[in-house]
């Protein structure tokens, strides 16, 4: 079963706008990661946030984590056409011995030029 569930399933915006994607999960986590997948570069790691962190930034990306609500959000600012891709959240469960990544179904982001 998939641990994370992204919302919305699909998002279409204009270039220059901000895009926000949300992820909810069910059980306690060690960390949460966001990945991007497009046909050109495959699946690529974007950012990792640990369970004791609340917010992280990386370039135009901002990730928040609310462990009390078991949710995370990914904000992409000043979007570009090249940001068009599927975005997945993936969780690593707390206490697991092998740090297995469990992916959600993803959000398909389309940035129109």
């Amino acid at each position: 079963s998939q641990q994370g569930e992204e919302d919305p399933q699909a998002l279409s915006i204009q270039e220059g706008e901000n895009a926000t994607m949300n992820c909810s999960y069910k059980t306690s986590i060690n960390n949460l990661q966001w990945y991007r997948q497009n046909s050109g570069r495959g699946l690529v790691h974007l950012i990792l946030i640990r369970s004791n962190e609340r917010e992280k930034h990386s370039g135009r990306l901002r990730v928040t984590l609310d462990t009390s609500k078991k949710s995370s959000s990914l904000l992409i600012t000043a979007s570009r056409a090249a940001d068009t891709a599927s975005y997945f959240c993936a969780t690593v469960l707390q206490g697991g011995s092998n740090y297995k990544l469990t992916f959600g179904k993803g959000t398909l982001l389309t940035v129109n030029p």
Binding site: Q2, Q33, G42, Y99, G106
Partner: protein, 115 residues
Amino acid sequence: EAGVAQSPRYKIIEKRQSVAFWCNPISGHATLYWYQQILGQGPKLLIQFQNNGVVDDSQLPKDRFSAERLKGVDSTLKIQPAKLEDSAVYLCASSFTSGGSYEQYFGPGTRLTVT
């Protein structure tokens, strides 16, 4: 730094046939993963190796899927016999350590179509 290599990139077979996929991880990465990604879904972990030992194969359909990682480097994933529902992209990934703090690097995947 060379990335994770996979071959073939595409494969079309008939049901009940067998197929094998190959993966070469990033040099020095001890942990290797095989994922199955069905269209419209996120990747699902099939098997995880630490060096040449299996760490997790709880979601591997062992009646038809097998995987090995000889010498702790390259890995092969085999399906025998294939079913229609095995149509998917098979992704190989590697990481420096099995610790969850380290990102996984993914290969381009093999798109399998079973007819």
